[in-house]
Symmetry: C2
Subunit: 218 residues, 2 copies
């Protein structure tokens, strides 16, 4: 099952990197800790980092009732572009212009809606917590009515979506292969340090397993 | 010396996180390996990951002559929002809605211009290589005329710019402090693995020092 390509999700360059299968898109969205949310204000683009969580074919984005994108979202929703990017490494070629990155990214386009029922808001907020650390939503004090009212959740249905994947080494020109420059890949990854409890934490509360050896899914 | 706040760079929420001093902005831009470039096409937002490099108060962005933002940039330039984000950790609170991220981000707004002289194009491309790995531009085959012509560089003057910095631990409500949930920070960082040479690399070419112990500045 794949997302149908559209003119908006068909790249003008590097078409061989495009992916539309749901498994690839889902893996990237689930692994990426944050995304960048693009919208327009007065016709100008705005891009803000935020957290996201995927529930089946819906992407939830966290806001607050006073934040820019939430204020900009009217009853018809907010046209957005949500982009999540994982950088897997540096790709170093013998020639300047064949340098690249090893990366995986997803671009999701559409009209985000403000979640307007308390049930779906709780569902989205739980998903956002579990996206950051699987199991966390069951190990916190849940939002109360007042907090829920002060929090906005945006939802974007995954319909117009594409991934872009660049892996492997550099693609140097044949005539550059004998040049005396190092070429290859420097792999990059995100690692977690030991969890640091707040100073006033009850010493009887151990670091939960989902934080003690924290890593992103996959 | 600071950037002057404008309505566009004054957040509607979390104003205490806003920073306008150049040193903070420069450090974040220099440390962030990639950025997310937002622009509009047909009035709709588009957000793409790309590499950037700062030279004094100019941000260079890499394109190709056939890429979306380059095609969209007319003689008057392209209104853009460039956002670079560093995620420093997870901030886990006792209550769901006090969860946060430790992060540093920069938002730069303005009209990007297509670099139109060969000299500045070379300057921008060298900066982009050195941004990825300091010293790399002097250790590659430089672009030839044909490659230069096929490559576009966008330049954005750093004028309307702000940073947002969130550090420290969670800010729980006083009545939540005795709850039996772990609270604190899980620090995150990007680490490089050993550089992996291409299979056909001349074995006499050693891994250059700037890649052997690769890390982002700061």
């Amino acid at each position: 099952m794949s997302y149908a390509p559209t003119p908006q999700t068909t790249p003008t360059r590097y078409r061989e990197r495009a992916r539309y299968d749901r498994a690839t898109v889902h893996r990237i969205l689930d692994e990426a800790l944050i995304c960048h949310l693009g919208y327009t204000r007065g016709g100008r683009p705005i891009v803000l980092p935020t957290t996201h969580a995927r529930v089946d074919e819906t992407l939830y984005l966290h806001g607050s009732t006073g934040s820019g994108p939430v204020l900009a979202a009217g009853p018809d929703g907010l046209p957005v572009c949500v982009t999540a990017t994982l950088v897997d490494g540096l790709v170093l070629a013998r020639s300047a212009l064949h340098h690249s990155m090893a990366y995986r990214s997803v671009v999701a386009i559409g009209c985000a809606r403000l979640v307007d029922t308390e049930d779906e808001k709780r569902l989205g907020l739980d998903a956002l917590l579990n996206h950051v650390a699987a199991g966390r939503a069951a190990d916190v004090r849940p939002p109360n009515r007042r907090e829920l009212a002060a929090t906005a959740v945006l939802a974007l249905d995954l319909v117009e979506v594409s991934a872009s994947v660049r892996d492997g080494g550099p693609n140097d020109e044949p005539e550059d292969l004998a040049l005396p420059h190092w070429a290859g890949v420097v792999p990059l990854r995100v690692v977690a340090g030991p969890a640091e409890p707040v100073a006033d934490l009850d010493p009887a509360i151990a670091t939960p397993p989902y934080l003690a050896s924290y890593r992103r899914p996959h």
